[in-house]
Amino acid sequence: MRRSPVLWLFLLPGTLLYLVLFIYPTLSGMFYSFTDWDGVSPSYRMVGAANYKETLESIVFRKAFINNVKFMLVVVLFQTLLSLGLAMLLARNSRIHVLLRALYFFPTVLSSVSVGLIWSFVYDPSIGLLNLSLQKAGLESLALSWTGDAGLALYSIAAVQVWAHAGQMMIVFIAGLHSIPAELYEAARIDGGGRWQIFRKVTWPLLAPSATIVLAYTTIQSFKAFDLIFTMTDGGPNYATEILTTYIYHQAFGSYKFGSAAAGSMLFLILLSVLTALQFRALRADRVSY
């Protein structure tokens, strides 16, 4: 093929922007992680791996990591099951099904700040929808301090995350269901398969690529969560909802420990790189074509 030099002009502006405002900051973040910079002073010293050592030994960082894993497990489990269930129920392209799909998807387009404020109100201990409904139903004992209780807050926010994104993952599953050829179902029915058997033998194996996408996306998404937690609890009470991203934010803009925050960012990046590599491997194994 004849390669016109004009093509370089197509690449130039975007690549310049990308190198200056994305690649350079990433590399300079790696550099800061080896310094004691506070983010404000003109000078800083190189401190070697001290920030990494300090971060890995920090109780709050460990707590944030454990919270992040818990948050991920709960969100992945419930979001996957819920979105799969909804997709199975809504796979037909009837009018009402298309309408319900749009309704279930809708929270995805709201900002996390809106979603966070809506649910802060729903969870409000005294005038919130949830506790008032429980009281009306005579279940006062279940009326709890949903985001104020250290043992409960992380799970309350996980529920909101699922509320906001299950509809999006449902669409991925529906696309997967629609890609299964109808003949396979007919053949299975002619062979006398029951509903459960057809699901086990036909639907589930052929849905595996979609399930991989949903699992991978939800895992990475729940590690990157920030806005919702920032809006609803800002890591509290007593670090009960602190996750890695809020930890980094608080280190940098609450304690002005840029070097330490940068080390936290790098550890976070390593974790996400591993997860992303696993995602790509899983997707390739399933031969999903983009």
């Binding site: 390669r3 016109s4 004009v6 093509l7 370089w8 197509f10 690449l11 502006p13 975007g14 690549t15 922007l17 990308y18 405002l21 994305f22 350079y24 990433t26 973040g29 800061y32 983010g39 129920l89 319900l100 749009a102 309704l103 279930y104 998807f105 995805t108 387009v109 900002s111 996390s112 809106s114 404020l117 809506i118 109100f121 729903v122 409000d124 005038i127 929808l129 008032l132 509320w163 509809g167 999006q168 669409i171 696309a175 996408i213 996306y217 990475i220 920030f226 806005d227 920032f230 991203t245 980094i248 934010y249 840029f258 925050a261 940068a262 960012s265 790098m266 996400l272 992303t276 983009y290």
Partner: protein, 271 residues
């Protein structure tokens, strides 16, 4: 029969889980603080739009809207332009060079903006772009470029090589090929990418929070966080803010649903 009614019950139940919080927020915006605290779950009576008028009088709401709209439109247009040019060049170059460039952008997909928040804050500070919408637009566009290039390269790669080759033999330059063939042929994918980017940028909290601080520069999510501080116990007012700021997205979603769903889904498949 039993299965069908079970199915219907589950679907309605989940519809309620989605609708009820949204409904309560919507009606609360039309309540006086008196009725709100006395009857938090009831229909607003008296029905009042006072929260809305107070909000628009006491807050520079139009300015916030204009800020969000300007930043979002600016970022999305810049992003689509730069992203489609890169995707076009990658598709045209092909071979090792195209693949190498593609990998350069692919690498960016691994790095989330939360990792880069400090160095970007520091860099923007040093460049003197703090509190500038232009700076925010450039940074946001840079951070979303890997995803956009990834999405658009997938589509541009599908363009028929024969058509482009034939046209180029007929003497069409690259710019003509790009504007007359590549862009129109990938219009549906550009629309899906645009919808996806629009949602991402309009709703973004982190970058505006890092880079903007003057009250006259805030975007809507930031403004809402500020309301939370100001109307700390005034829920009707706070929820009015939620209604007002969510309205544009809700309307766009109703009218451009197909693109939103396609875009957000493509984004999640590749993000």
């Amino acid at each position: 029969m039993l299965i069908n009614s079970l199915r219907r019950t589950l679907l309605l139940l989940y519809a309620a889980v989605i609708i009820i919080p949204l409904y309560i927020v919507l009606v609360s915006a039309f309540k006086t603080p008196g009725t709100f605290f006395a009857k938090p779950l009831s229909w607003p009576s008296p029905f009042t739009v006072e929260n809305f008028t107070t909000m628009f009088q006491s807050q520079p709401m139009w300015r916030y809207f204009a800020n969000s709209a300007g930043v979002t439109l600016g970022t999305v247009l810049l992003e689509l332009l730069l992203g489609s040019m890169i995707a076009y060049a990658i598709a045209r170059l092909g071979g090792k060079l195209g693949k190498g460039l593609f990998l350069l952008y692919l690498a960016g997909l691994i790095v989330p903006s939360q990792v880069n928040m400090l160095p970007i804050y520091a860099l923007v500070h040093r460049l003197g772009w703090t509190d500038e919408h232009g700076g925010l637009i450039l940074v946001t566009a840079a951070l979303l470029l890997p995803l956009t290039v990834f999405l658009l390269t997938g589509f541009m790669g599908l363009l028929s090589k024969e058509i482009l080759e034939a046209a180029s033999i007929d003497g069409a330059g690259e710019w003509t090929l790009y504007t007359r063939f590549a862009l129109p042929l990938s219009a549906p994918s550009l629309a899906a990418a645009a919808a996806f980017l629009f949602v991402m940028v309009w709703n973004d909290l982190l970058l505006p929070m890092l880079l903007l601080n003057g009250k006259s520069k805030l975007t809507l999510p930031l403004a809402m966080l500020q309301f939370r501080g100001e109307y700390v116990t005034d829920y009707p007012m706070l929820l009015t803010g939620v209604v007002v700021t969510s309205l544009p997205m809700a309307l766009l979603f109703i009218f451009l649903q197909r693109f939103f769903v396609a875009g957000m889904t493509a984004g999640s498949l590749k993000g």
